[in-house]
Amino acid sequence: MTLSELKTGKPAQIIGFETVNQSLETRLREIGFAEGDRVEVRHVGLFGRNPMSVRLNGTHIALRRAEAVAVIVELVN
């Protein structure tokens, strides 16, 4: 599942990145997304759940669904 599909309030873990655009992966990593990190979608915009704000470790990051598609996650209990 990708981060863009994750439901609001469900804790998940990043398991990898999948993007044809290497610079997007670099940007995501630089701002703090990494394998093993906990993420949770906190807020989404009114139209098409776009953009979304996620909680990543202790940080909050706003991103678009088009960017969230590149982050592969799995649910944790």
Binding site: A34, H43, S53, G58, T59, H60, A62, R64
Partner: protein, 617 residues
């Protein structure tokens, strides 16, 4: 010889860190805030530089750089920060050491950026800022362990509290002589691959940080409302609306006071000096011209009091989040909101701030629409004309003048969005934009930094009055007085010049005085107001510099409204066009911007004039 020179020059330190980690607060705290804002040669990214003495008395030159996450340099300002450290910028030397800063609460997310900074090969120290907030959020950091693991000195700090900066001050007074003697070593290199760096950083964080999980922070609680899909945009609209209401409702008494002062000054000069050309220059040129603009200081200060508060509190990034959907529709993204918002102060810093936008096409689009944001130079014109034609009555809870001002600002924004939409569909097609924006924790602004910011803004306005408006007032005074005033304005240089241009502006309802005031307004838009002040001061006996009443008596409502509509677009501002040329490396885009803005201004003013006339105004 070289050794002597080396010991005399100050030690150069650079502050490096992610956006919002508190670099600027630390910079202000260490240097007392008296910074020189300068531009790198060849590029216009601003950096701040200042000197201070350590507690041991050694001189340090501190450099505040734009916030960066990694070392790739995706946008122009990130590239500048990285090039400054690597010594790739002409005229700037490689710093002697780095003060790398990190928000202590974000150690889990940002530690890999610190490891990466070791690869610059410069002596460095890590400052963990906002330790108090981290503690409040249940984050415990074992500083000794962290220091051992990453292999550089780690100092905990609360940049805004003097007592919590003691460690850092002690360290600097020890470190700087070492840097001077050249006995400090650069830290060991780290892997260059981001994935490996992150792996290592996460392992270090796991060992040295304990975090009580699942706690709802205050910021989270606030965001439940502020980022709510329905409530959020409503709150944003209310904040902006309240801001414009306050600008009008609170400024009245202060403005009356300033008007009274200029009136007194004018009377004093009038009664003590002989009636000659020089008295006319002082009262009609200098006092009427400069006074007409300075009277708006209270409104400018209130406006910036709000903007700075929104910035310092962390709300601005939320606003960018909230408007992103709208920006997506026109092909830009929420990030463009920040340069556009600074354009409300002045388009120049806005156009420069657009450098943080990665995609070149998005950057150009942002640069082109930045002049449509209502800059502070337009406020004097709005305040003057609104004051003259819009009654100061209440509509329900609201001040009617405030509503009109809000409407004008909104009109600028709407046309900017339409223009951006068209540009992105035609001239500047393509370019992919990412949002990826950190939402910082909410914090109360540091009072001293806040007041200093407000003071700086007010002083920029006042010094403009001195540098641009004063000379412009004197020139316009000369033009509207000579060679002869026997036939009123007709016989003056300004009258002759205005006559040439009048046929262009007559169809949209502009009077000769208005056309004349637009010419010097090329230097700065608010000069239109000071010029009108001077023109009418010579034309009639202006009591106590009350330009508003004179305009209300001389212009029709339709003309007044057309003038307002013109200033929503106001293509005339040489400094904006000059900075556009610099930022886009050529005349093509500034010429294009001037042309499209001129046509929009002309059409809007004309339409307003004829519609208002048809409505019988």
């Amino acid at each position: 010889m070289l050794d002597v020179v080396d010991t005399v020059r100050p030690i150069r330190l650079a502050l490096l860190g992610a956006p919002n980690c508190g670099k600027t607060s630390l910079f202000n705290a260490l240097t007392g805030g008296r910074a020189k804002v300068a531009n790198y040669p060849g590029v216009t990214v601003e950096y701040r530089k200042s000197e201070f003495l350590t507690s041991a008395g050694d001189k340090v030159e501190l450099l505040d750089l734009p916030g960066v996450y990694g070392d790739c340099g995706h946008s122009m300002d990130e590239r500048v920060a990285i090039e400054a450290i690597s010594g790739k910028i002409d005229g700037e030397q490689v710093p002697d050491g780095l003060i790398v800063m990190m928000d202590a609460s974000h150690i889990n997310t940002h530690l890999h950026n610190v490891l990466q900074a070791k690869n610059y090969g410069l002596p460095m120290v890590l400052v963990l800022n906002m330790m108090d907030m981290a503690a409040r959020d249940g984050i415990e950091i074992n500083v000794a362990k962290l220091e051992e693991e990453i292999g550089v000195p780690v100092i905990s700090c609360v940049a805004v509290r003097a007592s919590a900066r003691a460690h850092l001050n002690d360290y600097l007074s020890k470190w700087v002589p070492e840097l001077n003697a050249g006995t400090t070593k650069a830290p060991a290199n780290e892997p260059s691959n981001l994935k490996d760096l992150q792996k290592k950083a996460r392992a270090i964080a796991t060992e040295s940080v304990t975090q009580s999980k699942g706690r709802e922070t205050q910021s989270d609680a606030i965001d439940r409302f502020v980022l709510h899909p329905v409530l959020g945009p409503i709150i944003l609209a209310l904040i902006l609306f309240f801001m414009f209401q306050a600008v009008y409702s609170w400024s009245g008494p202060f403005m009356d006071g300033i008007e009274w002062l200029f009136g007194q000054a004018s009377d004093l000069v009038g009664s003590t000096m002989p009636d000659n050309w020089f008295r006319s220059l002082i009262t009609d040129g200098v006092i009427a011209g400069v006074g007409a603009v300075l009277v708006f200081i209270p409104q400018i200060v209130i406006l910036f009091a709000f903007i700075l508060l929104l910035e310092a509190s962390g709300y601005m990034a939320r606003a960018a989040f909230l408007v992103d959907t709208l920006m997506a529709k026109i092909g830009l993204n929420g990030r463009a909101f920040i340069p556009l918002l600074s354009s409300f102060a002045c388009a120049i810093p806005g156009i420069m701030a657009a450098r943080s936008i990665e995609s070149e096409r998005d950057r150009l689009t942002t640069v082109l629409i930045a002049p449509l944001m209502t800059c502070s130079a337009r406020w004097p014109v709005y305040f003057l004309v609104i004051g003259a034609f819009i009654p100061a009555q209440k509509v329900g809870l609201f001040n009617l003048q405030g509503i009109v001002a809000f409407g004008l600002v909104l009109a600028g924004v709407v046309f900017a969005l339409i223009a951006a939409f068209i540009f992105k569909k035609t001239l500047l097609k393509g370019g992919n934009s990412t949002l990826l924006l950190e939402l910082p924790s909410y914090k109360a602004p540091v009072f001293k930094d806040y007041i200093r910011g407000l003071w700086d803004r007010a002083m920029i306005f006042v010094t403009r009055a001195g540098r641009i408006i004063l000379p412009a007032s004197i020139i316009i005074w000369f033009l509207v007085r000579y060679p002869t005033r026997e036939h009123g304005l007709e016989g003056t240089f300004a009258g002759m010049l205005g006559r040439v241009l009048e046929p262009i502006f007559a169809p949209i309802g502009f009077t000769l005085e208005m056309v004349i005031s637009l010419i010097p307004a090329m230097a700065a838009r608010e000069v239109a107001v000071s010029s009108l002040g001077t023109i009418y001061a010579l034309e009639e006996d202006m009591p106590d510099g009350v330009l508003e009443g004179i305009i209300a008596a001389n212009w029709s409502v339709a003309t007044g409204l057309a003038f307002l509509a013109w200033f929503v677009f106001a293509p005339q501002c040489l400094s904006t066009l000059a900075v556009m040329k610099k930022e886009t490396h050529g005349w093509k885009w500034p010429v294009f911007a001037f042309t499209y803005l001129f046509f929009l201004a002309y059409i809007a003013a004309g339409a307003t004039f004829w519609i208002a006339k048809a409505a019988g105004l």
